[in-house]
Amino acid sequence: MTTPLLEVDDLRVTFRTDDGDVRAVQGLSFTVAEGETLAVVGESGSGKTVAALAIMRLLPRTARVEGTIRFRGTSLLDLDEDGMRDLQGDDLAMIFQDPMTALNPVFTVGDQIVEAIRTHRDVTESAARARATELLDLVGIPEPKQRIDNYPHEFSGGMRQRAMIAMGIANEPKLLIADEPTTALDVTVQAQVMEVVRTVQEATGTAVMLVTHDLGLVAGTADRIQVMYGGRLFEAGPTDTVFYGSRNPYTLGLMASIPSAVGRTARRLEPIPGSPPSLIALPEGCAFSPRCAFATEACRDEPELRVVDAASGHATRCHRAEELPDLVAARATATAGSEGGAAEPGAAGDGAA
């Protein structure tokens, strides 16, 4: 196996606050290969966005970042400011959650894309503008020659996110980090934007790290999924394996809480009880155990992330990973009238995609 594009090893991010240290990311390790799409899934506060910002080195100075992040062999945390800036927006690009506020209101969309190009490429203004028009066309902005001179407020939400993507891919990055790119958008526009991400990926061969809380969005897009909870990796594996053969109660819980658009089953949505843990005072042992239906005495000890299927690289953080399918089946028969939470998620995922 060749060296991966991005290699994150034992990443820890801590914010110092008056209430104590917030351990937003705790010992996160993963890789992204060239050209692949990795989805990072989790609830709010699971540390997924912080991890993404840590890779881009965009966290505020109050954040303490430890561990190693290697991008094409270069250790990002050891780079000086200039070295990091050469990568930011060039080989390593990021698009943000809220397109309403992520574009500068006082510059035209074209100016902002041109700026992204000319920061890294020694090209003339007019050449950069021509390229910007091409990019806007690629992401599906109608009449790009006219719209390039519009200000962000003259764009709709979906168009702004398209413009953000155009800006992100302006220099054909090797890795594009998309932080909840569709969260602020209408459902119909969400699908369009994901389609744009896919088109862009085909056109440029960039790897995509898709950070989202929306499992449904991930199903049709990602090659691999990794699920985060309480600043830790809870499950990782190929998309299909995680969707159809998850070995983690948290992942199962997430899937059971997605509404399905197909199959008019009268299945009730099953929310995960409780709320995500405080990152200042995490529960003892397994961080998910207070909310877990299958928690036992053993869960007082923090489980390791362990590989359950070496061939696919499927890994999970659960003491009861092996018995989990049986436990879920038993619970499904116990809840009468239901078709069973664990059997449903596949359909749920397809429906949303």
């Binding site: 965009l58 400011e81 930011q88 927006g89 506020t101 209101p105 700026e115 407020h153």
Partner: protein, 321 residues
Amino acid sequence: MLAYAVRRVLATIPLLLIGTFVVYVLVSISGDPLAKLATCTQCDQQAFDRIIDLYDLDKPIPERYVNWVVNAVQGDFGPAVSFGSIDAGELVLERAANSARLAIPAFLIIVTIAITLGVYSAVNQYSRLDYAVTGLSFLGISLPTFVFALLLQTIMIWMLDAFGWRPFFVTGMRTVELDGFLPMLRSHVLPVITLVLVITASESRFQRAAMLEVINSDYIRTARAKGLPNRKVILRHGLRNALIPMATIWAIDFAALLGGSVVTETIFAWPGLGPLFISAVTQLDLNLTMAIVMLTSLLVIVFNLVADLAYGLLDPRIRYE
């Protein structure tokens, strides 16, 4: 935008009428020009009649006001009786020019320093320099103007005592035409410094707040994610946005400076609008008071309009219809 400006200018007319009417009535009822004659033993009925005629005291106040407006729109603000009955309008314009000699350099210095300090404090929030700027700003805001003015004068007097020489003049205005360039400079420095100290303090706070709001916004993160150098992120993306709310504050401060500063000009014996206004009010010189009120109101209105138009230039989201 032109139509908007014209409409705004027209809208100021009723505003000016209401404002001047209120001031006219208040000044008219706050004193009686005949009162001084009451104890005058040599004065006969003729003197009374002359004053009644001069001020139209036999007519109701609203009618007097209407007469004043009719004359004022023709540029005739009447005689300033407390200044030897010279033309009030001319006197006010002459003094306004003297106030502007302080206001314009002071304003330029204030804006430059306030932007620099505000941006630096915001970017280095909670650094030592930020705390120092914050502390000095609060000192500047809370200490009365006369403290700075008197302090500066004291330093000059002390230098005169110690070295027999002082770099700047303590009172009075010198001009290039009458006294030469260097004396002009030496007489302007202290009052300008006083104005700068007082107003920079509050303006740098506003600038810091505006800049803080901007540098914590999403589009600044976007700019950083592009790999832009820090200077470009702060100045091009940050300051450009942080200047928008400042336009209003500058307009208000500049209009106030041009309208003359009572305390600073009085302490430095500067022949500006500030001392003139005090003297006009204390001597119940109605024509002079009204001419000054007219000018200062116009300044406020004009510079507010300038600020609103500047908004449109700075912020593309604002459209004038």
